[in-house]
Symmetry: C2
Amino acid sequence: MTLRIALVGATGAVGRLVLQQLDERNFPLQSLKLLASSRSAGSVIPFRGEDHCVEELIPESFDDVDLVIASTPDEIARSFIPEAVRRGAVVVDESGAWRMDPQVPLVVPEVNAHAMEHHHGIIASPNCSTTQMVVAMKPIHDAARIRRVIVSTYQSTSGAGLAGQQDLDLGSRAALDNQAYDYAAFSHPIAFNLIPQIGSAGESAYTSEELKMVHETHKIFEDDSIRICPTCVRVPVTNCHSESILVETDRKISTDEAREVFQACAGVEVIDDLTAGQYPMPLDCSGRDPVYVGRIREDLSSENGLAFWCVSDNLRKGAATNAIQIAELFASREKVAGR
Amino acid sequence: MTLRIALVGATGAVGRLVLQQLDERNFPLQSLKLLASSRSAGSVIPFRGEDHCVEELIPESFDDVDLVIASTPDEIARSFIPEAVRRGAVVVDESGAWRMDPQVPLVVPEVNAHAMEHHHGIIASPNCSTTQMVVAMKPIHDAARIRRVIVSTYQSTSGAGLAGQQDLDLGSRAALDNQAYDYAAFSHPIAFNLIPQIGSAGESAYTSEELKMVHETHKIFEDDSIRICPTCVRVPVTNCHSESILVETDRKISTDEAREVFQACAGVEVIDDLTAGQYPMPLDCSGRDPVYVGRIREDLSSENGLAFWCVSDNLRKGAATNAIQIAELFASREKVAGR
């Protein structure tokens, strides 16, 4: 069956990609409605050769919609989504507003597609840094059960939206010319610098971004006993998040076995030949959907540890692609249900 | 007493800083000789108001020299240093050529000044990524004994010398203008990218840079039982290396105690107020000597773990400053010995 889709936040960095992927992946669309705040309403976005006018989001927007894909800030998602659900739509939400709600499944299709069955109108997509990590963890967890994760991230500026990308571009130009630049999306200069804080200060001196990696991973694997120590760092990279990950497993998993299970896993691509200088890098992985894994090696500091390097396009698998995959799963299940 | 000093590699990124620090720190100089390859010989460098001509390094260069400070590639250091020692000079070497030689002390003055006593003419200064890590480890190790270290680095392009810095500058300009750029110091683009390889491919799928962090740390602490898992990554930052470090200790050390012992430690500065957005960042730490520590927090993944973020100027404490500190220690000991 085809679905009547509404896209909320169509003019943002992720929204644009969702639109592009609806087209590329030939999503079964019956109709498409583009919604945004009053500020963006009225702009025109081409889709499949037709101009679509962006409408202002109002409660009635959802009256003739089966599925909403929403990429908005948390506070917007908190306010409009209950209304959309009340009016009969199912919402795939990319914000952080609903992820930890016990009624809301938090889904990465390669990892826990089964969780979708129990939705009550909202299905949440995880934070970008979590999504790529759990995709990479999944085959190792299935093979040898992960007990502990230590992860340091290298997160691109596109994670802070179009303003973040523009900050890196304009801030870099200014720095190269010894000019001042007033950053819009970051509280410190990001050009040629690192900011070891993403999100706000949270409990135990961790940031909200770091705590998301802990809590969302627990929810997705339905296992709070996995112990996770994250450090999240913004780096002057335009797009793609990278992660230095060390996992400790119940039984030792060799690098050969790890490589095999990574390669066999949907959504994971292995690039791993250190001697040939081959490993995933943000510039190469940008604009692609897989989660890339490389630098696979035994942990030198524990018996059952495995270290690896993981790169993925945070706007695609970290956001738009994961939401579309959830929408595709929803569409295929609705079909089975004969709706 | 004053010393007759020769500086080898005076025209390089580190050599220039050594010269600057000899002046700033008012080093007890009797004479100063600047040495370099035939390519750089003849250039003129001002020092304390006088022009010094860079001479070509030949065996006789060392006949009237007490102490050599050398910043050269490994292969150069391997060939000229035995000759310098034969001719009576003591050499502080910043290259990797002699660090793991059992006859050669590997010294970070804040950590193992005592090791200098047993030199046989060569005293080595560690790799930049090791130096800042061991300075930060030292107070925690003294307080609670470190058993294990997991470290992911964010290393600046100045670690690859002047060519590395130029690559980032020119490569960034080219990328911003959608132009091609042919990198000289890196085998992959570094502008707006990450390269998860520093040095060559070594044993067990670790890089030479990563293995240096393991072996040099063992030698400096005289303890091979400290288990270390490093991941070394080049980032598009001009100067200062940053490290996300997790240590596991014999007994639990609280964040309050950790902050106290860090603050009491020579060479360490604490910048740690997440709520106020205060932590060490490369742009702020560049051009300074301390090892900066922040984001101090309990490891969420083990009982006795402590996580922190460490930034230091890799050209200063990571190279020039550490070498000068060794030279100062040498000068003060020679004085005691009454030479």
